[in-house]
């Protein structure tokens, strides 16, 4: 008769293996040029998501029955170099990861079912579900990560799949252009997370959260790091969080992400992906408790994000962009709650907001039809909304319409100088090779081209 530990371990493996299986099957079939039919893809997607969800719910039930609130499942050492390096894989079921993983499964499953109709007979059906499977895998791995390296792995998977889904409608230049911007922001975020992971690894000799954040049960862990160390790591993690959750000054990528198909906008940018930063902040909350400076920074950034997103959202004219800013307002508030130390409120806020926003996003394409039905049912016009901020100040209106000039700021002060410097270097190199060759040295020189390069970001 297996004991509770063994049952939880088996179920835990199912939770992770389900999306992994989906990714492997869809990935291999695509790579060998024999993609599955729509029916098989849908069936496989539904089957694996339901398996994962049921296993997660079963784990929740077991935890409630046996009264355990923290069940780590070590999956073994992935890479070990004796006395030098240790990379272990571990998943953790606790008060934070279980609700988040169930949320991921519920919303992913809902959107999977919705998307199987939404992208039905589209040429990118298989591509959508391949990326969707990577996204779900990334979310599950991130949610359950028991080590910072495991979390980083999931984090990267989520970033890549999100980016490629933004470029889903790939016959127009706008989606890939926006996808590149988002990817650039994600890379900054990833770099900060990787640095934080390395620093934490060095402080404790391994990346296990239990050792880094203290051995208590979330959210009551007490970190043994010194405040100075906590401040340094916290600052790096805050950059990672800001990039992933579109906090100020990176907020500009969220409306750009609406180029993707509605199901991906709903589940990724409205519900799950955008909350990943808040999830990370909740996971490292013991570090925040150690450093008042970082906590203050979290509160300020959260509030700023909420204000900017509210103002920008007030003047948007398309529903998906308006919803994305509405989503961002709530993310800003959730981040503020985390900074204030209200962890449970933040978690509940996050779960509720993700569900509500998913519903709003999937209804967005039929909003006008919904209005018409409502008006038909009421027998009169729906009341018009209050006037926006345009009635107050022209400059404020313009500022909001330009989304706080955040993208312009990043573009002008970071991207443009970067491109200018390297383009100058490129010109110098051309001169040098022309000099050495005693003539034109580049076959690749072409007339000035059309749009589409890195210049589009400037």
């Amino acid at each position: 008769m297996p004991n509770v530990e063994q049952i939880v371990q088996s179920l835990g493996l199912v939770v992770v293996a389900a999306p992994l299986l989906l990714t492997v099957i869809l990935g291999i079939s695509s790579l060998v040029g024999r993609p599955l039919s729509e029916e098989k893809t849908t069936l496989l997607g539904h089957g694996t998501i339901v398996c994962g969800l049921l296993a997660s719910i079963a784990i929740l039930g077991i935890m409630l029955v046996v009264g355990k609130r923290h069940i780590p499942i070590p999956l073994g050492d992935w890479v070990v170099i004796p006395h030098h390096y240790h990379f272990s894989i571990k998943i953790v079921f606790d008060r934070l990861s279980v609700p988040f993983v169930i949320l991921s499964y519920v919303l992913s499953g809902t959107i999977g079912a919705f998307a199987s109709q939404y992208v039905h007979r589209e040429p990118g059906f298989n591509r959508f579900f391949s990326l969707y499977s990577i996204f779900v895998l990334g979310m599950v791995v991130t949610a359950l990560a028991g080590t910072i390296e495991t979390l980083f792995t999931g984090w990267e998977l989520v970033g890549l799949s999100s980016t490629l889904l933004v470029a889903f409608y790939q016959e127009r230049p706008a989606p890939p252009r926006n996808a590149l911007w988002i990817w650039a922001v994600y890379r900054v975020s990833d770099a900060a997370l990787l640095l934080a992971a390395v620093v934490m690894h060095h402080m404790r000799g391994e990346g296990d959260f239990d050792r880094l954040l203290g051995s208590g049960i979330w959210p009551d862990e007490v970190s043994k790091l010194e405040p100075r160390q906590a401040m340094f790591v916290g600052a790096l993690l805050l950059i990672a969080v800001a990039g992933k959750s579109a906090l100020v000054p990176f907020s500009g990528w969220l409306p750009r992400a609406m180029e993707g198909p509605t199901p991906s906008s709903a589940v990724f940018y409205g519900a799950l992906s955008v909350h990943l930063g808040a999830f990370l902040l909740l996971r490292i909350s013991p570090l925040l408790a150690l450093s008042p400076g970082i906590s203050t920074a979290v509160i300020v950034i959260g509030l700023l994000t909420a204000v900017v997103a509210h103002l920008a959202g007030s003047v948007q004219t398309d529903i998906k962009t308006a919803l994305s800013f509405a989503s961002l307002v709530q993310v800003g508030i959730i981040v503020t709650e985390i900074g204030l130390g209200w962890h449970y409120i933040a978690l509940i806020h996050l779960l509720g907001h993700a569900c509500l926003r998913t519903l709003q996003f999937v209804r967005a394409p039929t909003l006008l039809q919904d209005y018409r039905r409502l008006e038909d049912a009421l027998g009169e016009r729906l009341p018009r909304g209050r006037a926006g901020i345009e009635q107050y100040r022209t400059w404020l209106y313009r500022w909001s319409l330009e989304r706080g000039y955040l993208d312009a700021f990043l573009s002008e002060y970071f991207v443009a100088p970067f491109v200018r410097v390297f383009r100058w270097c490129d010109r110098m190199e051309r001169r040098w090779t022309d000099f050495l060759s005693r003539g034109p040295s580049r076959d690749s020189d072409r007339p000035a081209g059309q749009s589409g390069g890195i210049d589009d970001l400037t």
């Binding site: 030098h84 980083f152 620093v199 081209g449």
Partner: protein
């Protein structure tokens, strides 16, 4: 007699040499392709046997029994050790797959004969430890590319100037080191500095990197990949410089390489031509390998050797994917969106997979290398760590930018099928399988590279011990 006791490494070199001579006599490109492929395949299988024999621990005496080398040279010059054992088959595999994936339209331009000749020299180089022989092989490796440029009627000055400098520095450097009274003498240190300069030229570190972009501009893409991707310069660094170089020399190489890694990553991001983009991406990675190599810790050296292996697989595969695109659409521009996904989805996936593997994406062979490199960099200095992470991040942006520009953003109209051919699919999928396999099960590879790193460090230690007993050591250190 055990089959593994045969001198497989010599056979591999021999197959390539004989193949080169036979294929050179063939005038029909199809015949040249078939024979060339057969010889490269035979060479690759031989290297696999050699690798197997090494890991199964076949004693050197047994291997020497059937070897021609003692008769020819008096001793075995070409043999595998912990460092070269996996590198030699991977180099042979890269040659084989590059030849296999050559499109019919390009067979006339791709010289199978010279490719086989270069493979023979390269395999000999990677299985050689003898300094003077290695110097000679490295010098002779510069000849096939020159012939390629001349045959194509392309300008050779940039290449010739840089490679002449490389050979001169290498020969002069080793001659001075070899004739110096002790490895710590002033003379020997001058020799090491010349060797360091030679390595920097060959690896394309700034400011002597322009020959690599120029080489990619003019050479056929397949030959260009084969010449640079195996990282012969890094091999020279491990064999010739690492064992004897003083710490400050290694630090200098590491600093210059670090600057190159970041610079090349930035340059890759702004390129308007796919070949130049690839050249800079390669430069950045080659420099990262050197950074790890010169940090002198077991972890950094392991990371560097893992990254080296990852570069061969991932940038090799990435190059083949790009080459397959070129064979269909001509020289690829990164100025406007091309929208080629619809025509070649498998190629697009392989392009993305190999590109991401090169920048250390999770579940690929590059991931653990990057993790180890960043971790070891953090031990040395925070600044080095930040620079390595920055280079990896910028390279990631460059790769995805290239993907988006080549495969999305427009609708490419063509009346003929541009789908990947079965041979190309086999080539890129083989590399993809190795990339994913090495990424998901990295421990065997890491263990092997760690042992190689330990071996390299112990050689360095023994060389330091010799230096410690050298009467001139105190004098030199006092002067420094």
């Amino acid at each position: 007699m055990n089959l593994l006791q045969l001198p497989w490494i010599e056979l591999a070199i021999l197959f390539a040499m004989v193949g080169s001579a036979i294929v050179a006599r063939l005038r029909d490109p199809n015949h040249a392709y078939q024979w060339g492929l057969a010889f490269m395949g035979a060479s690759f299988i031989s290297t696999l046997w050699a690798w197997q024999a090494y890991y199964l621990g076949i004693p050197a005496e047994d291997l020497a029994r059937f070897s021609l080398q003692p008769g020819l040279f008096g001793r075995r010059l070409f043999a595998l050790d912990e460092l070269s054992a996996p590198l030699v088959p991977s180099v042979a595999l890269l040659h084989f797959l590059t030849a296999l994936a050559t499109a019919r339209t390009k067979m006339r331009r791709y010289s199978f004969s010279w490719s086989l000749a270069a493979e023979a020299i390269r395999l000999a180089t990677f299985s050689c430890e003898e300094p003077w022989v290695l110097v000679g092989l490295l010098a002779s490796l510069t000849v096939p590319p020159y012939v390629e440029l001349v045959n194509r009627g392309c300008p050779t000055r940039v290449y010739t100037l840089h490679m002449a400098l490389f050979v001169a520095l290498l020969v002069a450097g080793w001659a001075i080191v070899d004739t110096a009274p002790g490895v710590s003498s002033v003379r020997a240190q001058v020799g090491v500095i010349l060797l360091m300069a030679a390595i920097l030229v060959r690896c394309g570190t700034i400011p002597v990197h322009c020959w690599i972009t120029d080489w990619f501009e003019h050479a056929s893409f397949g030959i260009a990949i084969l010449y640079v991707v195996p990282l012969s310069g890094v091999y020279a660094a491990v064999r010739l410089v690492l064992p004897i170089a003083p710490d400050w020399v290694l630090r200098t190489i590491a600093l210059i390489s670090l600057a190159t890694a970041v610079y090349a990553a930035g340059m890759a991001t702004v390129q308007r031509d796919a070949r130049r983009f690839y050249a800079y991406l390669f430069l950045s990675h080659a420099s990262l390998v050197l950074v790890g190599l010169e940090m002198r810790t077991a972890l950094s050296l392991t990371a560097s050797l893992c990254l080296w292996f990852s570069v061969i697989l991932s940038l090799g595969g990435f190059g083949l994917a790009l080459r397959a695109l070129e064979s269909r659409f001509g020289r690829m521009s990164l100025v406007k969106y091309q929208g080629l996904y619809g025509h070649s989805p498998t190629l697009a996936v392989c392009f993305m997979l190999t590109g991401l593997a090169s920048v250390g994406f999770p579940a690929t062979v590059g991931f653990i290398s990057t993790e180890l490199l960043v971790d070891s960099a953090a031990e040395v200095s925070a600044l080095v760590c930040v620079a390595v992470v920055a280079a990896a991040a910028i390279n990631g942006i460059a790769v995805v930018r290239a993907y988006l520009l080549l495969f999305t953003g427009a609708k490419h109209v063509s009346s003929v099928s541009l789908e990947i051919s079965p041979r190309e699919r086999f080539a890129v999928l083989t590399l993809a399988a190795l990339i994913l396999g090495g990424g998901i099960f990295p421990q065997p590879g890491v263990t092997s590279r760690y042992l190689a790193a330990e071996q390299a460090l112990s050689r360095r230690e023994s060389s330091r011990d010799v230096r410690a007993g050298d009467p001139q050591t105190d004098e030199v250190e006092h002067k420094q």
